[in-house]
């Protein structure tokens, strides 16, 4: 009933180009939502607005009833935003691991600096999270020694270590070699099974159908169609959705 995340009237322009033209949706706790759509449709921008990595031009985002990015009618600074961002775990297309830190340090650093955990506790937490993504065996490696799939799994562990209310995935497999996609999708699927709340931008249509509860199809900065995953993907109502899905499959 109550939405964990609710988005209303979200708009975003880059210069004179309006990329998001009024997006409304809500996500219940435990729900998994997939955002699909052609490139340039605004789905990544939409996701990045959730934690204000992109500052929306207009609209309202509420996480657990708390307004994100605005306080008393004023835009919050990056410093003020930090605790709100900590509530959302984000997984990037290009992993964005920190190459000067080890795998474990990558996962532990936020726990230490943001939540103030002691070194040992943070390390234990990090190892737990690495176990979830099956990366314990590379705990002391440098991210640069890892394959793309392994890096992305570490990045997922880093986001999990925040104990986030919401996980944001921004095309987590788009930068991967085809043979590495599966290991990352498997990890995401396992997380989905734990009842986590997820917002996932993806080009993996079959995966979206299998894992997501609901699918939103974005095109031209608006949500063209949304509904239960299997319905939107197997029997789309809108012509634009149909032609997009046709292109994706062949």
């Amino acid at each position: 009933m109550d939405a964990l995340l609710s988005v209303a009237g979200l708009r975003k322009s880059f210069g004179s180009v309006e990329v998001l033209k009024g997006i409304d949706f809500s996500v219940k706790a435990g729900e998994k939502i997939a955002l699909i759509g052609p490139s340039g449709s605004g789905k990544s921008t939409c996701l990045r607005c959730m934690n204000f990595l992109e500052t929306p031009t207009a609209g309202e985002i509420l996480l657990d009833g708390e307004r994100i990015g605005m306080r008393n009618g004023r835009m919050m600074s990056d410093r003020q935003l930090a605790p709100q961002r900590a509530e959302m775990g984000m997984v990037f297309q290009l992993f964005n691991l920190w190459p000067h830190l080890t795998v474990t340090e990558n996962v532990a650093i936020a726990a230490r600096k943001v939540r103030g955990l002691a070194y040992k506790e943070a390390r234990e937490l990090a190892l737990d999270m690495l176990a979830k993504v099956h990366m314990t065996h590379r705990a002391d490696a440098s991210p640069l020694e890892l394959s793309g799939g392994q890096q992305q799994r570490v990045a997922i562990a880093r986001a999990l270590a925040q104990k986030p209310k919401l996980m944001l995935f921004d095309e987590p497999t788009s930068a991967l070699d085809p043979e590495l996609v599966c290991e990352v999708l498997n990890v995401i699927e396992e997380l989905a099974g734990e009842g986590r709340t997820m917002l996932l931008v993806t080009h993996e249509i079959a995966f979206a159908r299998d894992v997501a509860d609901r699918v939103m199809f974005l095109d031209g900065g608006v949500i063209v169609e949304e509904g239960p995953a299997s319905a939107v993907i197997n029997t789309p109502r809108e012509e634009r959705t149909r032609s997009f899905l046709k292109q994706i499959r062949h």
Binding site: D78, R85, A86, F92, K113, V114, S142, L144
Partner: protein
């Protein structure tokens, strides 16, 4: 052919300046690094236009005036205004201020070479901008800056020779005064060159070792 005794005397005379050369080099290096790093932070991570303009002007000015001219302004110019610096203090300050202009650019290039995703990932996990700079960006930028800083340090050791012009008693100061009294020009300057090599070659070697160590961290 000068005999060994002459060489010994020359060497002794020049080594008297070695301490000041090292002192001037190390102190101005410290000032150059600290001030240059601070300026690069202000230039890259604040949005005050006036501060940006001031730093750009400072860097352009000091990089484009010869060190000697700059030293004369500090030493003789300030003295005529009533502020009298010792020659060593003027040398350290002068080379340090020039160094800051050089290292500011080197550090900035380091920060700028980092992909945008590095900051975004820092902010996304809930780090504040300051924490992101300290824990994520600065350590990486410094590693990238290392070769440039190493070259600057070696250049600085050599540049300390110009401070003999304001009578700071370093290697070249003694070399010149010995030449005027003994006329052993080649021997004295060759020995001076040897002393500079003795300082800069190990320094260069250190830089290479550090580079090799951190080079593998480049993403």
């Amino acid at each position: 052919m000068p005999d060994f005794e002459t060489f010994r005397l020359v060497l002794e005379g020049l080594v008297a300046g070695l301490g000041v050369t090292v002192l001037v080099a190390l102190s101005s290096l410290a000032i150059g690094l600290a001030l240059g790093f601070a300026l690069s932070l202000v230039r890259e991570f604040t949005r005050t236009r006036a501060a940006h303009f001031a730093i750009d002007a400072y860097v352009e000015l000091l990089r484009n005036i010869p060190a000697l001219t700059h030293l004369f302004i500090l030493y003789f110019g300030l003295a005529s205004l009533g502020l009298r610096l010792s020659s060593i203090a003027a040398a350290i300050l002068g080379l340090g201020l020039i160094g800051a202009a050089v290292t500011c650019d080197i550090f900035r290039a380091g920060f700028r070479s980092l992909p945008k995703g590095q900051v975004e990932a820092g902010l996304a996990v809930g780090l504040t901008p300051r924490q992101t700079i300290i824990s994520i960006l600065a350590p990486q930028a410094m590693r990238i800056a290392l070769p440039g800083l190493g070259n600057y340090a070696v250049q600085l050791v050599k540049d300390t020779s110009v401070v003999s012009a304001i009578a700071a008693p370093e290697i070249m100061f003694f070399a010149r005064s010995m030449v005027t009294s003994s006329f052993q020009t080649t021997l004295i300057y060759a020995t001076a060159a040897g002393l500079y090599l003795l300082l800069s070659l190990p320094l260069m070697q250190c830089v290479r070792v550090l580079e090799a160590h951190y080079g593998k961290l480049k993403g």
